[in-house]
């Protein structure tokens, strides 16, 4: 408080301030074992506003890619129910930092069948379901899927992909089985072979052989 008084208030009757306060940040960092941790940059910019995704991962924006990756892993281990959201954080930060390491990490997670929260919400909305509301029963979701197929048969593959994402999110084997069901209808089989219903059997067999040979080419 004395240091903050204007100079005009001090005159010879007052003792000069001999004690200069010492910042405590280094002590706090050392006690918590993170003093001088590796950072992306040595400069400190107090005006810069960091992206909220860093706080969600429990990290800081000056973390190196390695430390950010570690923070992501640890947060997922501690809070697996929010892993899809953390994956979104990783994806966005990887893109924003233009980090190939983090982008690779994201790609590996995706190829292992993990999806970010945004993608999961997209999958629900594909069937006109509200992802923020309590999850409907499995049968209700399958009903929405079948209803969609009835009205938009040409989007079958896209529908199955989105159904698979919902199945993973809910850990539902029943929904997953429906998503992986490759059974075709008669009409779908004709369309696949470019055949018509009035063709004879030999013609259809020939078309099938052509289709298979095209696959192998």
């Amino acid at each position: 408080m004395l240091e903050e008084r204007p100079p005009t208030e001090f005159y010879s009757g007052v003792k000069t301030i001999i004690h200069r306060p010492i910042p405590a940040l280094k002590d706090i960092q050392t006690s918590l074992g993170c003093y001088d941790y590796p950072t992306r940059t040595r400069s400190i910019n107090l005006e810069h506003e960091e992206h909220p995704y860093y706080a969600s991962l429990g990290a800081c924006d000056d973390f190196t890619d390695e430390y950010l990756s570690w923070a992501y892993d640890r947060q997922c281990d501690c809070d697996p129910s929010n892993k899809p959201y953390y994956l979104d954080c990783l994806e966005d930060l990887a893109r924003g930092r233009q980090s190939t390491d983090l982008q690779t990490k994201f790609a590996i997670a995706q190829s292992a069948g993990e999806y970010g929260q945004k993608r999961i919400h997209e999958a629900y909305r594909f069937f006109l379901l509200d992802p923020t509301k309590p999850v409907e029963s499995e049968d209700y979701i399958l009903g929405c899927f079948n209803s969609f197929l009835g009205s938009s048969p040409r989007q079958k593959n896209q529908a199955k992909e989105n159904l698979k994402i919902i199945a993973n999110h809910l850990s539902s084997t029943k929904i997953l089985a429906a998503a992986n069901d490759n059974t075709m209808t008669f009409e779908e089989a004709l369309e696949t072979l470019n055949a018509t219903a009035d063709m004879d059997s030999d013609s259809i067999v020939a078309l099938a052989i052509v289709a298979v040979s095209k696959l192998h080419c």
């Binding site: 009757g13 910042p23 706090i28 107090l46 909220p52 429990g58 640890r74 501690c78 809070d79």
Partner: protein, 350 residues
């Protein structure tokens, strides 16, 4: 500030890989002296027990957390989990929130010095105050629960690079109790306990936050130049003969006097003539010009008492802080050590 009403949290599932959490909310109470129970109206705040933050993140949140605006901001930056970002920008803190400039309180520190990394010491205490908003922050890092084979996280450990701290307990206390004589030295407005999620890391971090020791009214009376000058002028007019050639002091001068009184009391300064603890005569010119009769409550809060010197009938302020304060502190510390030993034996720590 009212008492927050929250339900006690449920016991954590011990089958998870991150175990050892205190499972009852009474854990907080046991570490405090028994008399404190009477004044404690402590809620335990529900929170998400799984989300954690790295040590640098915790420090950043601590430096940005201004508890004065907790209600306005709607969330506790230190204790609450980070909000999910959904595309709309999240206001981390208000523009008037203090970005703390934490300063050491050397006499209360116990910690690693320089670049020395935390070792197997039982605990470290970093006692600080903010030079801007004057709140006090006490950070205790404990390794007391360390068992054989356990090792704290460190930058050189690839699997446990840093402490990843998860909130275990939070505590809030009503502000109006802080001036009670028995508890003012141990009062804290807010406390949080975190535990590291690292496998094999025993670290428990406790953060206690206290408001400024002098409230706004005291600060205003001490620092407002107009009030200080008027006080001095009144004293000069009341006793023009004795105060001849005196003039009102400045706020800096009055603060300097107060600092001297407190330092002398703390250092146990003795009167050279009597050999007894130094006194301040209330008719002393410096005292009159600096404080007049307006700060009896402040000096009482600082553990100064009024005594009457029979031969001269001079009313003096005797600093009690040398004897009672030290004894009180020793008592408190002893109680804390006893309780912590008990807690250590039972496998939990505060």
């Amino acid at each position: 500030m009212g008492v927050c009403k929250h339900s006690t949290r449920e016991a954590r599932d011990p089958s998870t890989s991150y175990d050892g959490y205190p499972t009852t909310s009474w854990a907080w109470y046991v570490s405090l002296p028994a008399s404190f129970w009477l004044y404690l109206a402590i809620p335990i705040q529900d929170t998400n027990w799984f989300i954690g933050k790295t040590a640098p993140r915790l420090i950043s949140d601590l430096l940005d957390y201004d508890r004065r605006f907790l209600k306005r901001n709607g969330r506790n930056l230190l204790a609450d989990p980070a909000q999910h970002f959904t595309g709309e920008w999240i206001l981390r803190k208000g523009k008037n929130d203090c970005r703390h400039s934490l300063t050491r309180k050397d006499t209360q520190m116990r910690g690693p010095t320089g670049r020395e990394m935390p070792n197997e010491a039982p605990h470290y205490v970093v006692a600080t105050y903010c030079a801007k908003c004057r709140h006090h922050f006490k950070i205790t890092v404990s390794f007391a629960a360390q068992e054989h084979g356990q090792k704290p996280c460190s930058l050189s450990d690839e699997n446990n690079r840093m402490h990843h701290l998860r909130l275990v307990e939070s505590m809030f206390q009503p502000l109006d109790k802080r001036k009670l004589d028995d508890h003012k030295y141990e009062y804290f407005a807010e406390g949080h306990q975190f535990r590291c999620s690292g496998m094999g890391c025993p670290v428990v971090v406790e953060i206690l936050i206290s408001p400024p020791r002098l409230d706004k009214d005291d600060m205003n009376r001490l620092l407002d130049p107009g009030l200080v000058r008027a006080r001095g002028q009144k004293e000069i007019e009341n006793d023009p003969v004795r105060m001849e050639n005196e003039k009102p002091v400045t706020a800096a001068t009055a603060l300097g006097y107060l600092r001297s009184y407190i330092n002398d009391a703390r250092n146990g300064k003795l009167d050279s003539k009597t050999g007894k603890p130094s006194r301040i005569a209330m008719r002393n010119k410096k005292y009159r010009l600096g404080f007049s009769d307006e700060f009896h409550d402040l000096f009482r809060y600082l553990d100064f008492v009024n005594v009457v010197d029979p031969p001269t009938e001079v009313v003096s302020i005797l600093p009690l802080i040398c004897r009672v304060h030290t004894a009180c502190l020793n008592r408190v510390m002893a109680n804390q050590i006893v309780f912590r030993r008990d807690r250590f034996t039972s496998g939990s720590f505060l």
